[in-house]
Structure formats: C-alpha cells, structure tokens
C-alpha cells in the first residue's frame, strides 16, 4: 500500500501539466466568447473548468505525497504547495462560477487570478526539478568560463609529501564527529564502491552522467570522473582544496556555483567529509589503482598506454615525475598507515587521551593522564598494540606498567618521546627498551632504576635527552654518563641553579646626573636666546622656557616645546633663519 501511494505521488510531474494546459485552453475560449457568446462555448468552458478543478486536486494530492519523500528544499516545497493549493481552490471556484450565465465578470476575474497564481506555482515547482538558476543560467554562464587562477596553480607539480595517506587519519581524528561516523578507510580496494559511489549515485549522477552531462561533466564512471568537465578537472588527487568538485560542494548553498544546486537533495556534512578524505587520500578508484601504496613502484612497469593513468596515480601519491622515475628510497619510509578508528575509539572510551601530532599527520600523541593510576600492562597492551606504528609521543607517567610493556614499547617504530615517570619499571625493562631505534627523549624521573640503568642508557645511541631525577642514580654515575655521552642531555635535577655573576655596587642616590641632551655647565643666565617662538613664530612668553645644550630657549605656549623636542636641531636651525 505504502509503495502504491508513493507511485501515485510520483505521478505528480505528469498530472500537474493537465490543469496548466486546460487553464490555457479556457483562457482562449474566454477570449473567443468576448466576440461571440453562445451556449455551446459556455458549456465547453464549464466542462473544461470542472476537469481542470479535478486535475488540480489530483496534482495537489500527488504533490503532497511526493513532498513527503523529502529531498527538496523545505522553503520552496512550502511555497509551491501553498500556491498549488490556491490554484486548486481557485479552479473549483472557477468551475462553479462558469455555471452563472448572467455574470461573466466573476468568472473572468477568477480566470485571470488563477492564471496569475499558476505562474509562480510553476516557477517554484520547476526550481525544484531543474534547480533555482535554471532559467537564467545561460546568462550567468559567462562568468563561469572566465579563466581561473587555481587552474594555473594546478599545472605546477604537487609538493613532496612524506605521507600520501596522511589526511585520512585527520578526518578520523580531528573531525571525529563526522570522520569517525563515516569510518572512511583507504585500506579496502572496494572503499570507493562502498563509500564514494553511493554518494555520487544519490546526489550527482542525475545531472552528471552519459545521458545528462551538465557542465560537460559526467561522474558515472571513474574514467569520466578523471576527465572532468567544461571548467577543467573535477578533482586534484591529494589536494581537496584545489578540487573543483569539493570547492563547489563547500560553497555557500546560496552561491550560484554551489553543487548540488539549491533545491536538489544536499549531501550531509559526513558525506562531504568522506569525499574530502577520499580526494585527500588521492581519490583511489577500483580500475585506476585501488591502493595508493601500489603507485610508488608503478614506474618500472609502465606502458605507453597506461602512462596518463600512472601519472594520475603518482600525482595522487604526491610523487613528482622525476621522483617516480627513480627507484623509491628505502631509507626514507613514508608515514605509517592511519590508525584504525576502532582502536582510537577504544582509547577514548577508556578515558585516555589521543590526538594527532598535527592536522596532516598519521602519527599520534597518547597520554594516560586521566586514568594513570589504574593502567597496568594488560590495559596498555590492549590499547596500544593496535596503534603501535602510529605512536610518536607516549606518556605512561604514574601508571602501573612494568617491564612487560617495555617490549611493546621497543617495537614501536615511530616512538620519539616516551614518558615513564613514576612507574615501577626496572633496568631489565630499560634493557628491552634499548632496542628501540626511534627513541629520542626518555623520561625516567621518580623511578627506582638505580645506577644499573646508566650503562644501558649510555648504549642508546639515538637518545638525545634523558630525565633521571630521583631515579636512584648517584651523582657519580650521572657525571660519568655526561662524560661518556657529551651530546646526550642528562637532566637529573642537579643543574637547576643559575650562576650569580655578582651584584651591583652598593646603592648611592644623587640627583647630579645631567638631563638627557643638556650640557653639564649651568647656563650663564636664564635670559632666553630668542625673542620669537621657534615653532610658531609668535613672541615668546617668559613662563615657557626650555634648557637645551646650555641654551635657554623661549616659547609662546606650553604646546610648542613638545614639537621642539621632536626635532630640536631643525627648530634651532629655523630659529637661526628667522
């Protein structure tokens, strides 16, 4: 039943044209009847009027059902509905009025009124199906074809990036309300089919496909997407900010270039974020290269035919043509793959804190501040093992973790800073930790490590800063460590006092220092050297005197000395000239 009602609703675009045509016919008949009025004309009019009323009512009901399906701008729907309803009511009145032989004027008046209401009704209806700018779009199109500066920018090779997939984790982490909700991931080859294609299907391809290629753009196949439209490429892999498609989706809804056009079904914020994450990750698509990682070694197997595609992939991965030609450098690994959304959600659910190192990084900072006293080896392993490749900065301070966790910590390839302050770690744990090849900063303050730990730390060559205050290490061992590893900063809480280089002389107060700009010798007399003010040129007032380099200078008022001090020499020169 529900489905049948829906089908009936969808007849609205068909039914609505009947009353329009018949109203036009009635207008013609009415004009004919101005000249020659006979009963058959009036009867034809009356019959037509009742048919119009019926069709109008059917159109209103079906229209209301169609609107229930949603997807249209509510304001336009409301206007269209109210006007349509008015048209139907007027049509019924018109049909009734057509029976009064003697009175032509109410009928004519109603006919004109109905036609007048019909115009905006039709306009709002069409705005919904064709978009608001449909009518005047050809006039506005001129602006669209003006050259765009960002196109030129797109010609230059994209800058090198360490981690092509970096943006994805950002979408997940920093935009967590949307990113986490979409859970968009590059890992699956069918990520495009799963997440992107449905959005394009729902929102874009009604107007951008092989059958209806608005703006010369089709989005129904990956190849068509790469081709772009009249205003150039639709997307710049890896650079959402330069991708026309996303730029237009992000324009204010009222903007004439906003996509989808106002009145059409609009994407949710999450969908836009998914598109952005997808473009940022290089816009991988099934038959163009489903994973980004595959692109870096594509150079050697390239054929002439696949060259453009390969170029696109390289572009997606942020690899310039020159770099792609060389074998990839194994010494410089790219950033790790983004951490899974579930792992991050688990950390947050435990009330631990996780954030990306920066917006465009897949590396993570994790702290257990809130729950430190309850964290043991099992909790740490459960929460940290899934993200071990992403950890760059980890604070386990004040937790209960022991040497068991050290092995996991040593296996974290990107861990740069580790805080183990006030934990029960022992030298055996540090021994395991020493295998880490990435650790640069290590906080071991307030532990019970003792002198045993010093040779182990001495062997950690990558380490540049270690904190050993209150770690049971004797001052002699600290001194030895500093001597053995002069480049290693050893913070043991013992170098905290700044050296005093000496106090000033005992204080003596006097007022005999010369004023700035005044010679030591007192002036011979207080008689001013001038008769007229050097600033204004008016006669001087003996109340306003200034001492400058042993000379007494007079002024006309208390304001002029301010100008004098701004440039005394120029004023004096002016005085001499006078």
């Amino acid at each position: 039943m529900q489905e049948l009602i829906q089908v009936f609703g969808r007849f609205h675009p068909l039914v609505l044209h009947a009353p329009i045509g018949m109203l036009a016919a009635m207008a013609i008949i009415e004009m004919l009847s101005l000249r020659r009025s006979d009963d058959s004309v009036r009867r034809a009019f009356s019959g037509l009027a009742w048919l119009t009323a019926l069709a109008a009512i059917v159109a209103v009901v079906s229209g209301w059902l169609l609107a229930r399906e949603g997807g249209y701008d509510q304001i336009i729907v409301d206007r269209h509905f109210n006007l349509g309803l008015a048209t139907a009511v007027l049509s019924v009145l018109l049909a009734v009025a057509s029976h009064f032989k003697a009175h032509a004027s109410p009928r004519r008046g109603l006919l004109v009124l109905t036609l007048l209401v019909l115009v905006p009704t039709g306009h709002f209806g069409a705005s919904m199906t064709h978009g608001e700018d449909f009518l005047f779009e050809p006039l506005a199109r001129k602006d669209l074809h003006a050259p765009k500066p960002e196109r030129q920018a797109a010609e230059t090779p994209p800058p090198m990036r360490e981690s092509p997939a970096a943006g994805v984790s950002t979408a997940k982490l920093t935009g967590s309300t949307v990113g986490a909700a979409t859970g968009w991931q590059t890992d699956g080859a069918d990520a495009f089919t799963r997440d992107i294609a449905p959005i394009l299907n729902d929102l874009c391809i009604k107007c951008h496909s092989a059958t209806k290629m608005k703006g010369g753009l089709a989005l129904h196949t990956p190849d068509a997407i790469w081709l772009g439209g009249d205003s150039g490429t639709a997307l710049e892999p890896g650079r959402p900010q330069d991708s026309e498609m996303l730029i237009r989706m992000r324009l204010p809804a009222a903007h004439k270039d906003h996509m989808p056009p106002k009145g059409k079904p609009q994407p949710t914020e999450a969908q836009v974020a998914t598109i952005e994450a997808w473009i940022k990750a290089g816009a991988p698509m099934p038959d163009v290269g489903s994973t980004i990682a595959a692109s870096s070694d594509a150079g050697s197997t390239a054929t002439a035919e696949s060259a453009p595609r390969e170029a696109l992939e390289n572009k997606a991965a942020g690899i310039s043509p020159e770099v792609a030609a060389k074998p990839s450098d194994p010494a410089k690994p790219a950033g790790p793959a983004p951490a899974s959304a579930e792992a991050i959600a688990a950390i947050r659910a435990a009330l631990a804190h996780v954030e990306p190192v920066s917006v465009d990084s897949t590396l993570l900072i994790v702290t257990f501040n809130a729950i430190a006293p309850t964290v043991d080896d099992a909790t740490a392993a459960k929460l940290l093992a899934p993200i071990k490749n992403n950890l760059a900065d980890l604070s386990l301070g004040r937790t209960k973790i022991t040497d068991h966790t050290a092995e996991l910590l040593a296996s974290m390839p990107n861990l740069r800073r580790l805080d183990l302050r006030a934990t029960p770690i022992t030298p055996a744990g540090i021994e395991k930790l020493a295998k880490s090849e990435s650790l640069e900063e290590l906080v071991l303050a307030q532990t019970k490590l003792g002198d045993e730990v010093v040779p182990i730390i001495g062997g950690m060559t990558k380490l540049s800063h270690v904190y050993l205050w209150s770690a049971g290490v004797t001052p002699e061992s600290i001194t030895k460590l500093r001597a053995d590893r002069p480049e290693l900063e050893v913070d043991a809480g013992d170098r905290l006092v700044t050296q005093n280089l000496g106090a000033e002389e005992p204080l003596k107060f006097s007022s005999d220092a010369p004023l700035p700009g005044v010679s030591i010798a007192a002036p011979a007399s207080l008689e001013p050297i001038n008769k007229v003010c050097p600033v204004s040129g008016s006669p001087i007032n003996p109340k306003y005197l200034v001492l400058y380099e042993g000379k007494v200078i007079g002024f006309c008022c208390p304001n002029c000395p301010k100008q004098f001090w701004a440039d005394p020499e120029a004023c004096l020169a002016a005085l001499k000239a006078k």
């Binding site: 909700a181 804190h353 917006v359 900072i365 700044t498 005992p506």
Partner: protein, 490 residues
C-alpha cells in the same frame, strides 16, 4: 575534515527548521523516524558512555601541550624587579624630562601632580648568567634568579589600557571590552581536553598582600564560545569545588542513577531545541561526577615528598597561598590540564611601594622558581609553557612623596616586563629594550596580540585560523592583528 563550528551550527539550524516544519505540516511518524537517524549523528553520545569533548587538535606540531599562566594582578613594577636602570640612581628626584614623557596620557591619580620626580629603585640588582651576556635581576627575586637560565624576559611589552579592569580584560581576552572568550577558553576550544576527568581550564587565585583590585569571574569566562570552555575555579579553603561532594547519605550509585535520568531528560530537550548549551550541561554534569573522584586525588598532597614541599617554601601547606597554588599547578600540569591560570592579587602599589613589593615578591619568588625547577626535573617544562605577566607596568616617577626610603608608582602601559619559560620558548634570553628612564620602548615592541599569537603558535595553532563565528563574523583571540615573535621561539 577539522571540526567546523560554523557548519555544525548551520547544520543544527537547518535541522531545527526541518523538524519545526515537520511538526506542523507533515505526519509526525515521518518526523520521528528521521529524528532518530539524524540525532545519532548529531549527539554522538551513547547512553552510559561519558561524553568526551572531542579534541579539535593543533594546526601543526605543537611545542607546548599546556600553559601555566601566572597573572600578577595589579601590575608589578618592572623597575624594581626586572628592568635594570642603574643611571637613574644619579637622577634621584630630578623631574622626568618632557622629552621622555612626550605629553603622554597619565591616569587621573597622578595627572594633577605638580611634578614627576624620578624614583630609582631602592633595590639592588645582580647579574645572572643566561644564554646571552647575562641578565640583571633585583634582590627581591633571588629564587627566580636561580632559574634565570630557563627564562625568556620580554622587556618591551606594552598595552593599550591604563586601568586594571580593561587591562586584565585585554590580556585575558584580546580586547579591552568585556564579553570575549578568555585565552584559556580559546585554548580549550582549540585543543580540547587531554584529561577527561578534569576541566580543560582551571583557575587558582591567591589573595595578595598589598592594594587589591577587583577580580571578576568573567576574566575566565568563555564569552560566546560554548560554556564548557570556561575556566573552572578551584577554591582555596574548604572544598576546592563547591557542591561537588555528595550530601551525607547519598551513595555514588544513587548519584549515577540521578544523572542518567537527568541526562535522558536533557537529551529529549536537546532533540526538541538542538540548543548546544544543553549538550554542554550534560557534559558538565558528567564532568562533575568524575571530578568527585579526580579532584580529591588532585588536591591530596600526601604523595608529595618533603624535599619537594620544602622547595615551594613555607607557605606550601597553606591553602590558597601562591606556593600551594604553584604546587597545585604542577600537579594539574602533570595530569594534562590544558590551561592553568594562576592569579596573584595585590601588586597595585601606588604608595609605599618598597614595603609592599617586598611582601608580594616574598610570597611569589620561591614558589614560582620551584615550579620551574619541579617541571624541569620531571620532564614537563619542555612541553609546558609558563607565562608570568601583569596587566601593565608602573611609572618611573613617584606617585606621592618620594624619599630614599619609599615611593609609589602609578600605572604605566607604555613598557613593562613579562617573562616566559619552557614550552618551546628560547631559554635564558632577553627580548626588547626600554629607554634610560624605562618610559618608552627603544626596540622590538611587543603588543598583547603579538604575545597571544606567539603563545598560540607554541601550542600548535595558527592564531588566524583559530576562529569562532558569532553575530555574523569570525572572531579571533588576536582580533585583526598579532604577529609571531620568531626570535623568542625555539
């Protein structure tokens, strides 16, 4: 995509309009179905899970993860503490030359004075080694001097305000008029929480010894930002947070049941109105519930060893003293609180300055130095930005009678000294220079927006990108100015 408050807001508005229309013109069944699906996205919070305030994250890799901001309310005298002007000793009681004063604005308290006698500091300075050619500091600050190699002194700070209320408001919110979000609120808004059991922005207040000016709660208000970002004041006496303790006879399970019911009701109201303040309310009730456990742990000093307590000085056990608050600040920093705002009142020394400033520095010198040492040895200083600043400086001329024993100083916004330490600031340097009278800036002036821009930069945020749309335009902490002080950043 970074969290965009504007889009979130517009999204809420559209939904509100949509549901409003649905209620009136369409069947309520459809409305209800759509509602459930949309709200799972909008609220993002499930029933019994504590709602986490989601971090927005830094724009680039930060140097500092948190801030301890020590505001010296009343404006300490830079002449008696940091800005060494030995030649003034030979200018005792001379008139301040017009060429120096240049007719600049004075407060009503001294503009009527017949003369402006130069008052050199009666405190002896010593030179301390730093990473440049040494820094001169007053005998009033022996402990602070002992960590001079960690400190970056800015001698060329200046501000626009000449009175306390607008002066503090300017430093705290980036504008002199009340109503904008506080610096701490911006940081909380920009970076989010890193400890779900404590507020992002905590305020600790110490009553001063001398003349005290009003301290309004709006200095740590969130202005137009959601109120979850406002500062939470921890009280010094009795209970640190009022009404946090359950009344006698109430079990924690009962409290949980009550909160669950209330948040269900709140959720219903949120679904009706989509007012973000309701979410804030729910979040704060949950926060308070967790703070019932975390705050007693935070303020319990039993785990502090005697050596550490000694370092902060004899007042450390006195609740609300600057020493106790510095220790608490370290404990908060250790627990990852983003913004710890300390206020020390009582620096407004218009008369009898030498005696009053001696008492004030006696209260702050040892604790603030201890805080730096304590942060350093625990490996926290490198990621904690410490700021020490008043709202303006004080005049070189004496307000009221000048003798070799005593003098007063009026407000002086044209130049004064503040200092920064840790958190990616170059240690052991001085920046900016004032003239011989410490009246005007000679080089590298720093205004309040520059300071804010630089502090945000150290926290990994671009001050031009940290915005919030309100009343139709994007607001920034730095309004329309602010430049990064590159020379003081590591």
């Amino acid at each position: 995509m970074p969290f965009d408050p504007l889009e979130e807001h517009l999204l809420n508005l559209t939904r509100r309009r949509f549901f409003g229309k649905v209620g009136k013109t369409m069947s309520s069944a459809l409305g209800a179905a759509a509602l459930t699906s949309m709200l799972t996205k909008a609220a993002g919070a499930s029933g019994d899970q504590p709602r986490l305030i989601l971090p927005r994250g830094p724009h680039f890799a930060p140097k500092a993860k948190r801030v301890i901001y020590m505001h010296m309310e009343g404006a300490p005298s830079q002449l008696d503490l940091y800005d060494y002007k030995p030649t003034l000793r030979q200018r005792f009681n001379q008139d301040l030359p017009d060429s120096i004063r240049q007719g600049q604005r004075l407060t009503g308290m001294t503009s009527g004075q017949a003369r402006f006698p130069v008052a050199p500091s009666i405190f002896r300075f010593s030179k301390y080694k730093n990473n440049e050619d040494g820094v001169w500091l007053s005998e009033l600050l022996p402990h602070t001097a002992s960590v001079a190699h960690e400190i970056c002194f800015i001698h060329s700070m200046h501000t626009e305000a000449i009175n306390h209320e607008p002066g503090i408001t300017f430093f705290q919110t980036g504008t002199q008029q009340p109503g904008r979000p506080s610096f701490g609120s911006w940081v909380s808004y920009g970076l989010g929480s890193s400890n779900a059991n404590l507020p992002d922005f905590v305020v600790l207040i110490t009553q001063g010894i001398g003349n005290m000016q009003a301290l309004s709660a709006r200095f740590w208000g969130s202005g137009f930002l959601p109120s979850e970002h406002q500062g939470c004041r921890l009280r010094s006496g009795g209970e640190p947070v009022l009404y946090l303790k359950d009344p006698d006879g109430m079990k924690r399970e009962d409290r949980r049941a009550m909160l669950d019911l209330v948040s269900k009701l709140n959720q219903t109201e949120f679904e009706r109105t989509l007012d973000p303040e309701i979410q804030t309310r729910v979040a704060q009730a949950e926060m308070a519930y967790r703070m019932q456990m975390s705050v007693p742990e935070l303020t319990d000093l039993a785990s502090e060893d005697p050596e550490t307590l000694d370092m902060y000085g004899p007042d450390v056990k006195k609740p609300g003293s600057f020493a106790a608050n510095c220790l608490l600040a370290r404990r908060l920093a250790e627990r990852g609180v983003r913004f710890i705002q300390l206020y020390m009142r009582g620096w407004d020394q218009h008369g009898n300055l030498p005696a009053e400033i001696k008492a004030q520095t006696g209260a702050v010198d040892q604790p603030q130095a201890a805080l730096i040492k304590d942060l350093r040895r625990r490996g926290l200083l490198d990621e904690t930005l410490v700021v020490w600043a008043g709202e303006f400086g004080r005049t070189v001329y004496s307000q009221g009678t000048l003798t070799t024993e005593t003098y007063g100083r009026d407000h002086h916004p044209r130049c004064f000294t503040i200092w920064l330490a840790g958190g990616g600031v170059k240690p052991g340097i001085s920046y900016g220079k004032t003239d011989e009278y410490c009246y005007n800036i000679l080089e590298n002036p720093v205004d309040v927006h520059d300071l804010h821009a630089t502090l945000l930069h150290l926290l990994g945020m671009n001050h031009e990108q940290l915005t919030h749309r309100h009343q139709g335009r994007d607001f920034r902490l730095t309004d329309v100015s602010g430049k990064l002080l590159k020379p003081i950043v590591l």
